[in-house]
Subunit: 390 residues, 4 copies
């Protein structure tokens, strides 16, 4: 198949049957149908017109997952949870069936398989998907459940030791990084949308640069941290000293259950706390909790209490609550990232894409956490680096 | 007195015995004494080092007020209200006495005096103050109570008709604009820190440009609107559609009593509501109330409820409360503005200073309301336009 | 038709096609079907077992309304608004059709008809309904839109002057009171579930007592006031002095639109503010607003800010928000009241039913506003006065 | 000294130099001086007039503590923390000195001393205090830091095994219970104002009954739980089903530091969670956290999120925040309890005082947690059991 005749863009979702993936796939289909507006889609704003991003109807979905609950059933559950509109599953039923047929059983570490076997299986799935649909390129996006943090290991500090370790059959990579490694081998850009390790290893950064592949991450900024990176600059720029920034997150659904595990929670909490301190420029007491509240379903409520000091030491308080549906906040960003990263690859960008910091709690290759500055950077990058010359 | 030997900077406060003025004067004295840290002072941050701003000990305070309660007594009241630290009035007692001696009785319209007489009196006060202290320049800053909005009048649309109307003894200018006119006549830059009319008349803009004087305004951004201009860009940049943004402001103290008057409240509310809509780019239902709650004293509590729509129309809510002491938030900005505007005048800036939008609810000469973008503009302006060449 | 053979209880709803009525009718049908649990139904709790209340399947619905939108359509709208479960309209479709057939066009004052004509029409509707369904008794409950407050008029201070005024064709009664008068004439107990005048006139109280009919009211306690009457006793019993209790109510839907009118709002606000002061025993600054926020639909958000003083004058703050669906909170109370008032009439209670204060913002014949005390009174009354002797 | 001539009432505070004790002692002195109002004092309300409670000027303070920071210094710190008014330490300086002279070094377990020795020392201190001041009776109140929960031990299940264990020198009692045991031996009623074990052992209950001594407890209800027991009856009485009740407590000061220890926190959290479930009558998911936020000083902020279900399963949410100074809330209750328990002992009450449940998170001898019902019980008990016959 000649490259010239390929035009579609594949979106390969690790965790392809989860809430975020289902919402993204159903939403893209609904947008194609014209039945819904593009609220929540960053790249649909006028700032991104003329940039040459692939249109929604160029996107073809596939992915890996460990569960076999079909997308159609999952979409019904999301209707019950108030995340998808009542009529949507019927409207996009065929699209869900098509995407579901492209979801392969995911890999699992610690079950005896050698890492090279797992990698080869993923590469084969990705290559077959690309060929079957004659796709110009495929973006691999991790939206699977969060892994616990990885212990440090010299084998992941560079590509050579990593290759040696893999050859030796050593289990040095968690699943998220095996997927990322395989994606790069298959010539696919990678997006880490979760706090799992994924691309965040020197060895994988090296591999991406070697292969001229761009990557983005990590941990989609969808709720409390999104608000923090909008608010913390207020205190920083006004020289108001934050004394403590306490937060509680009530999560229902699968996310809450996973994060109820204290070890896993560590990945998330650490990712959430970094932003405020980096914006403020000093250490702050930031007690933070994630509580599993099953009755909240797919919804999340965060409460933050910011105690700060103003002129002459007077103490003041700001509090906020955020009641959001995480999947509905994450899904359009997944589509935005698929479009932007596919385009970035097309125009030759490679390595970590710092300009996409706007989308992430823990952005690669930049210290800029201020939301507005991140947006202005994104906009300028899209205009200057991605845009088709007139 | 030759200009060369003058080095001090005068800060002339309309409303010189109010809470904001008292806090600013007491705070500047405390900062000079080294007894307090510079929390809340924007221009004390590293970004403004080397810009050539006048130091705190170059500032000399004076002003107009209609009350005769001395600053020392007012400072005691602010201690009781929790705005000033217990020990401060003793620490800065002498400085308060000195400043108090420089406060003149303010002008009042509608009492029979012809406008030219009122203007001349203000000019004489300003000139005498400058000469007495051999000041290089004097910045006039309005921190007096809010006036009701002004009805439109052709006489204020240009300088010529305005001069004619004043010559004829017509009461076309409210007190805030008489002060501004007089300040310009006396060669002083003007800062509108309240929503009162002040400089916001084409005739006064013309006068400032004619005289090569800079001016800034209007309405210091200290509480709910400060938060709004940090938060609204979140919704705008993420393409989340705000459906309504309701706000309630509970105010104690003098500010609350003044703003309990529905006609006066109109000035404030209108100034507060503009920002969100301009950032979002579309009209939004923004019911907003100001309630007078005397027991809150110098404190203010705002509650905002933002109802917004995300991907596929799902509806979410963000709420925040802000518990702040307005005077403590405003006073350091008054000092920042005095320093920045004095320096701007020194280096030859004139007309409306759009680069100071960061400080205002309703900034002159710009549509940029996003707090972070305003800060980046301010920083760049200070670096590029104000800095002393090395 | 002999009284002995009548057993059903009629529930005649003024405002029979509104949100509250539709939810009550649909809910009663769902409860009869066994498809839903009885959450929110006070009289379904063990405390009311054995009291002899009419069961849900004894209730027959009818009413008056000025609109002709059928209940089935209204129920669909309530599903969209998130007040009724998706499957409910189908489940209770036939019950809605049956009830809809019993809704008559309502009366309107100020259109030329003489009051006696309007009254006679209502009496005829009620009597026909009772006979048609061979009902033992019919309870008339006003759940229509709130009227503006009534100006005082000597004609309503006693039954004799009222009869004379009605004979003379004078428009002395608002619609809510015309309905109440007619209900009493038809031998029906009355429940004022809104803040409209209804039974709250000495003349109507006299009429009810003359006829041996019980009545209850007024203004269902479903949201902010419900919380207030649970919380205010905390401050009262702990001798904590409330300094101010400010409240904001954001209302969508029809209720919000009606209450956006400042004159009508007066009825509601006055009813809401009384409770806290009567519990606390002293006057409190209680600024209160109702804002119309259409995008909230059938939902309501209230924010209350309570500033209070403790030991040695230290000042503290409590705040709460309440996000509720008013119709879902009101509807089960309508069913509770129908059952309780029907039973009260059956056992011979007459005049104002103070024991039902638990249900109302502005209860008749009692000063007890404390929710828990009201509940204990209700429970004791049901046990001692309503219960069938064993 | 004959009993007839004794009239004062001793208040012996375990933790006599802590924040609560200091505030109580300073407050009682201020009340005696007439310089402050009795806000926050339950027993000063009209409901308790004529009950025969000892007046404030009959109270004489003493206690045990492990620290030696004098009350005068502690009071200054409480002024800085905003808990005591600025002028208070000067006003009550002499009273603080007098009380400070009556504070003895507290006992400590696990340091080699045999329990009987520790008990004897406490008995000696109490007896000497009573004799020195010719007090009619002494109430011992524990306001010391919270202990971790006690493991179960058969030795504390009855008085006989306990006496045997103490005779054998076994460390079966934590400090709070040693104090309680000693108090009973010295003929003093006991109040457990903390969640520490104290009187909550069958053996001590038996001892109190044997000696005809009343006791009360446990864990003063001053903040979040106070609100919970006012609000939970709302949901219970309206048959609204609470699905989850999540809470976060941000604590500064010593209390926060102590409770940061997870083992100690267990005592507190368990005491806080019981109330809601007992009022509601069913198990509820109640994730609850205590976070140590040092910058809050003596203040506490609690945020609670209540997710509940109404009619037909519709889901609603109530949230509240409580910003209080725990010592200021606790101190007047300590005075109330001293007066009530002293009077109860005087009139012959003995054993657990269920009628005092109003004051406690985890009340003895009753399941009634509803605040209003507890108040009505307290009032009736004071009237019927404590009041001096006319």
């Amino acid at each position: 198949v000649s490259q010239q005749r390929r035009s579609g863009v594949g979106v390969w979702l690790i965790g392809g049957r989860g809430s975020v993936a289902t919402t993204a796939i159903a939403g893209a289909a609904a947008l194609r149908s014209g039945a819904v507006t593009n609220t929540g889609c960053v790249t649909e704003q006028p700032d991104f017109a003329g940039v040459g991003l692939p249109p929604f109807d160029a996107l073809v979905f596939g992915g890996h997952d460990l569960t076999s609950t079909p997308l159609t059933k999952r979409a019904e559950a999301l209707v019950q949870a108030g995340v998808l509109p009542t009529h949507l599953p019927t409207l996009v039923h065929d699209d869900l069936l098509v995407a579901d047929a492209e979801i392969r059983h995911g890999i699992q570490t610690g079950r005896g398989a050698r890492p090279r076997e797992l990698i080869d299986a993923v590469v084969a799935d990705l290559t077959a998907f690309r060929d079957r649909h004659r796709l110009a390129r495929v973006v691999v996006i991790n939206v699977a459940s969060t892994e616990p943090p990885l212990s440090s290991d010299p084998a992941v500090e560079g590509l050579l030791p990593l290759e040696a370790a893999l050859d030796a059959g050593a289990d040095v990579l968690p699943a998220s990084s095996l997927y990322a490694y395989a994606a790069l081998c298959a010539g696919c850009p990678v997006v880490d949308f979760t706090p799992s390790t994924g691309m965040r290893l020197p060895a994988l950064d090296e591999l991406a640069r070697n292969r001229g592949l761009p990557y983005a991450g990590s941990d989609g900024k969808t709720g409390e941290t999104l608000v923090k990176t909008a608010l913390a600059p207020l205190f920083a720029s006004r020289a108001l000293r934050v004394r403590s920034w306490a937060g509680t997150n009530l999560l229902g659904g699968g996310d809450g259950a996973t994060l109820a595990d204290p070890h896993t929670q560590e990945s998330k909490v650490s990712s959430k706390q970094r932003a405020a301190e980096e914006i403020l420029g000093y250490g702050v007491n930031t007690p933070m909790h994630i509580d599993y509240v099953p009755d909240l379903g797919e919804w999340k409520t965060a409460w933050d209490h910011v105690s700060f000091e103003g002129f002459l030491g007077v103490r003041m308080v700001m509090q906020f609550t955020w009641q959001g549906a995480d999947s509905a906040l994450a899904a359009p960003l997944v589509l935005d990232l698929a479009r932007l990263v596919a385009r970035a690859y097309e125009v030759g960008e490679s390595g970590p894409l710092a300009a996409l910091a706007f989308f992430f709690k823990d952005p690669v290759a930049t210290q800029e956490h201020r939301l507005v500055a991140q947006y202005d950077t994104l906009r300028a990058w899209a205009r200057d680096r991605l845009t088709v010359p007139a």
